[in-house]
């Protein structure tokens, strides 16, 4: 997001609520995400009018209607393209993208990887419910293999995408994951994303209670979630478990494994999380349940120039070093005068 936060503004959650009826199904995970975003926005110190939410099409893409900032509910898959044009020409704005697993990874996959590559300073929230909600329940690129849906009565033959893997592969500079119901966890991730200079990609596990209910129950299960989630903390060893008695170790052939802290093993044997190491981030993205706990939090965060800062710099330099008026431009080239 933009770094020009103006401390003067003091907003509250309510300032970000619109007068529109929220039209998600009762019980949809989108509500929780909405309310957490509304909680985090005031903390940015950015005036409301400087914030823009841009989305594609899908249940999740209805998001902008419910946030009282500028907003644009565009067309399916194309939100990153509008966000790019807006951010490049208006670097002063704080631009967010709300998208779904269908919108962002199916039809919109290309725009997503390109905005990550170009590292525009925007925040991308990918609501991953592993289903097409709005069109009433077809499988999505993140649906599990063999999934039975309206369009796959015999089970899906596809291997799913790993959104974190895609983002890393595309060269994203900030990659993180959270869960709709984890209202202690998500705000921190959202804040980090907003503060990151460059494109921030946040995968949010989101429950669609109508068409794919319980998709993340294994991970969010109250009883066992501490054994099933790995909370990432930069510079800290990768430890997890109800009693913090398990961890992730890496062997010399770069294979990750879960260890229990017994027989002399302790957190000292664990891999230290390093947000700047792409190999670690990628390895984490490959850790899937039930063999591994599901990593949550910031996988990767590095600094690179943003597209718009270079573009703006070029314009400023051009203005300084080769100033030009429109009159001069028209008269440039081989000009002759007829009397």
């Amino acid at each position: 997001m933009t770094t020009e936060a103006t401390a003067a503004v003091k907003l509250t959650r309510k300032d970000f609520v619109t007068d529109q009826d929220v039209r998600w199904c009762p019980g949809c995970g989108d509500y929780a995400i909405l309310s957490q975003v509304q909680r985090v926005l005031p903390e940015l110190g950015v005036p409301r009018e400087k914030i823009v939410f841009i989305s594609g099409i899908g249940c999740s893409s209805r998001f902008p209607y419910y946030i009282n900032t500028y907003g644009f509910h565009t067309i399916h898959g194309r939100a990153p393209t509008l966000a790019s044009g807006l951010k490049i020409s208006r670097p002063d704005l704080c631009v967010w993208i709300a998208t779904g697993d269908g919108d962002g990874l199916s039809i919109g996959g290309n725009h997503l990887i390109h905005i990550l590559r170009r590292n525009l300073n925007v925040q991308i929230l990918l609501f991953n419910n592993r289903i097409y909600g709005l069109t009433k329940g077809q499988y999505s690129p993140t649906s599990e293999e063999g999934k039975i849906t309206k369009s796959t009565p015999y089970g899906s033959p596809d291997h799913p995408f790993n959104p974190i893997g895609i983002a890393l592969g595309a060269g994203a500079t900030f990659v993180a994951r959270s869960i709709d119901v984890e209202n202690q966890h998500m705000p921190g991730v959202l804040l980090r994303a907003a503060q990151h200079k460059g494109a921030s990609f946040v995968e949010v596990f989101q429950n669609c209670n109508i068409f794919n209910d319980g998709a993340f129950d294994y991970t969010t299960d109250k009883e066992n979630k501490l054994d099933r989630q790995l909370r990432l903390e930069n510079g800290k060893p990768m430890v997890f478990g109800k009693n913090n008695d398990k961890g992730i170790r890496m062997n010399s052939q770069m294979q990750a494994e879960v260890i229990e802290f017994k027989d002399g093993l302790s957190e000292k044997d664990c891999l230290i999380h390093d947000e700047t190491n792409p190999a670690i981030a990628y390895m984490l993205s490959q850790m899937v349940a039930p063999k591994f706990p599901t990593p949550m939090g910031v996988f990767f965060a590095i600094q690179k120039t943003t597209y718009e800062e270079v573009a703006t710099e070029q314009i400023n330099t051009a203005k300084k070093t080769r100033p030009l008026t429109i009159e001069q431009l028209l008269k440039s080239g081989d000009v002759w005068t007829v009397k």
């Binding site: 619109t18 529109q20 005036p47 409301r48 009018e49 400087k50 914030i51 823009v52 841009i54 099409i57 902008p64 209607y65 009282n68 900032t69 500028y70 907003g71 644009f72 509910h73 565009t74 067309i75 194309r78 990153p80 393209t81 509008l82 966000a83 790019s84 044009g85 807006l86 951010k87 490049i88 020409s89 208006r90 002063d92 704005l93 290309n110 725009h111 390109h114 573009a311 070029q314 314009i315 051009a318 203005k319 080769r322 100033p323 030009l324 008026t325 429109i326 009159e327 431009l329 028209l330 008269k331 080239g333 081989d334 000009v335 002759w336 005068t337 007829v338 009397k339």
Partner: protein
């Protein structure tokens, strides 16, 4: 009348005056013929001739040397009177190899001048293009004035003490040619030499080599008395003013910049490269100092998407493309129409369908521009008639987009995009006004309130406190813009969107008619056929025919006086480089039995074919008979 002049060498030479000359340079893609042509054009322009050019090059970057596919050509028409096209048939043809000869000789006028680089007529090269015998020797070129010159050898000889490789030296042969024809048409050498020095100012070695090759060609013509006579085309009576020779693509780019400057807004171009539109992107990418951002997007959808995003933010959003790219922009165009943001989409048409003939010209995207979106989403469509006209059309497209808060489609095509003509530079402050007024008043702001005259909704950009609002593709309520599935509102909005586009008719000046105000026939055209139609109708008028020409710039909405105008003629004839797309619109709108002249050859009409076909239609003969 032939007079005697004095050449630079002091010899007396015969100078024959000419009213106009059509010259074509043709060679391998690597031979630099485009450069020779452009430079010779500059000489003609500075000499005060009226000019028109037509470059024609292959789809391949470098097809294998010496093949027909690899031939690149550049045609120039220069004259002492007004010209409208690059000319039907060259009277002078310069060819650098057998392939260029084979591909072009059929176009050369009888008794035309044919200048040939004999060095390239090797057995191998002849075989490549399936010449059984050497045409330079077998008499097959007897009906032309054939000038056989060892151009390559002479060029390398002229440079032999410069320490260049043979390849480098050989590359300069195009300047040798330029020297030859400069002599032939009595041009001063200084201008070209200045040019060379300017162009190669960072490569003094190259500057010197090209200068030498140029002078070698010039002097060769002079000393060898190669040509029995030389020719002179006097300056044309041209309106006073400052001019530059400009291609359609460059003019389009400048029109956009001028409009953004007048609007006082930054220009944002989101585009994906495609022939023949890429040059607009290339041009605009140079003008950063004028607040122009060019964004090379990952595809055409991202190109238009980014332009819409920029427009949402208050920039002048532009996207440029050619046919296949316009296909891809359809859905986003519909969004822009629905959210009523200003935007210009320029389609530099090329020959389709599908990949088609990507470097050739056609006018076959008109109905796509009109109707190529789902749902009812009418948009204004403007078409440029000539290279220079692209400037005003691009400017107007932005002006209307902003004034009516609507996407506008601008159509040009490969012919005028790459072709050039002299352009009288406008005074920026005399261009029509473009005023941008963003909404700022939170108390009265409604996203879809409407201006009484234009029906435009207000433009409110992020950053404006209190005007926070959400746009989107779902139908919205007039006034508030809130999502609405109310049936009556949908009908109202559909009609408002259509009516808004219709209102643009109030911007359109009355149709200009060249010729009688009523009569036997009116020839109606649009876009790049202007030149050939205009010239053909002029010729027919000279022959005493009762025929007029009128050209349509605004295709949607159509000019309000057009229907009445057409009624004044017995026949309405519509030549198009397509199968009759404007014709369909005219028939549907005015119920007149318009007759088409349609050409689908990737090439512009020639004046003579139009003369023949218009006459045939006026005489009631069947077109097939004259084809």
């Amino acid at each position: 009348m032939t007079t005697a002049g004095t050449s630079t060498s002091g010899r007396t030479r015969t100078v024959t005056p000419k009213h106009d000359v059509v010259i074509r340079f043709a060679g391998d893609s690597g031979d630099g013929m485009q450069l020779t042509g452009a430079q010779f054009t500059a000489e003609a322009a500075i000499a005060g001739n009226d000019i028109a050019t037509f470059p024609d090059y292959p789809a391949e970057i470098r097809a294998p040397a010496g093949t027909i596919h690899g031939v690149s050509g550049y045609q120039l028409n220069f004259s002492d009177h007004e010209v409208f096209t690059a000319g039907d048939e060259p009277s002078v043809l310069v060819v650098m190899n057998p392939a260029a000869l084979k591909a072009n000789i059929k176009d050369l006028a009888q008794n035309g001048i044919l200048i040939v680089d004999t060095d390239s007529f090797t057995e191998q090269n002849l075989k490549k293009v399936k010449y059984e015998a050497n045409p330079l020797e077998d008499g097959s070129l007897d009906k032309y004035q054939l000038f056989k010159i060892d151009i390559t050898k002479l060029t390398t000889a002229a440079l032999n003490d410069m320490g260049l490789s043979t390849k480098e030296a050989t590359r300069c042969k195009n300047f040798f040619c330029l020297g030859l024809v400069s002599w032939l048409f009595h041009r001063p050498t200084e201008i070209t030499i200045q040019h060379i020095e300017k162009k190669f100012k960072n490569k003094p070695g190259l500057a010197e080599a090209n200068r030498r090759a140029f002078m070698a060609g010039y002097n060769y013509a002079d000393t060898t008395e190669l040509f029995a006579e030389s020719y002179e085309v006097k300056s044309a009576p041209i309106t006073a003013g400052t001019y530059r020779n400009i291609t359609g693509n460059a003019a389009t780019a400048l029109g956009f910049v001028a409009a953004a400057q007048r609007a006082g807004r930054p220009l944002f171009l989101g585009s994906y490269p495609i022939t023949p539109a890429s040059d607009v992107l290339h041009e605009l990418s140079k003008y950063k100092a004028l607040d122009v951002v060019t964004y090379q997007a990952e595809d055409e959808i991202a190109g238009i998407g980014s332009a819409i995003g920029a427009a949402f933010g208050g920039a002048i959003g532009i996207t440029t493309t050619s046919g296949p790219g316009l296909d891809l922009k359809a859905e986003a165009l519909g969004l822009a129409a629905k959210v009523e943001l200003p935007l210009v989409v320029a389609d530099i048409q090329r020959a389709g369908p599908s990949t088609g003939l990507p470097t050739k010209t056609e006018q076959s995207d008109l109905l796509l521009a009109m109707f190529g979106r789902h749902g009812e989403s009418p948009l204004p469509v403007i078409a440029a008639a000539s290279p220079a006209d692209c400037f005003m059309c691009a400017y107007t497209a932005v002006r209307i987009a902003v004034k009516y808060m609507t996407p506008v489609i601008l159509l040009t095509d490969g012919y005028i995009a790459n072709g050039s003509e002299p352009w009288k530079l406008p005074e920026v402050d005399q261009l029509p006004d473009i005023t941008v007024k963003f909404a700022t008043d939170a108390a009265t702001y409604k996203p879809y309130s409407r201006d009484e005259k234009t029906l435009a909704r207000p433009w409110a950009i992020p950053g404006t406190p209190g005007l926070e609002h959400r746009l989107g593709g779902l139908e919205g309520q007039n006034g508030s813009g809130n999502i609405s599935s109310d049936p009556d509102n949908h009908e109202l909005m559909t009609k408002l969107r259509a009516e808004k586009v219709q209102r643009i008719a109030q911007e359109i000046p009355p149709m200009r008619v060249m010729g009688p105000k009523s009569g036997d026939a009116i020839v109606v055209g649009w876009g790049s056929t202007f030149g050939p139609i205009h010239a053909a109708v002029k010729q027919l008028q000279k022959e005493g025919r009762s025929v007029a020409h009128s050209h349509i710039s605004y295709i949607n909405p159509l000019p309000s006086d057009l229907g009445d105008l057409l009624k004044n003629y017995k026949k309405v004839i519509i030549p198009e480089m397509n199968m009759g797309q404007l014709r369909m619109l005219i028939r549907a709108n005015f119920l007149v039995d318009a007759i088409g002249i349609n050409k689908m050859k990737g090439k512009p009409f020639t004046i003579s074919e139009l003369v023949t076909k218009i006459s045939a239609i006026m005489d009631g003969r069947k077109l097939e008979a004259v084809q």
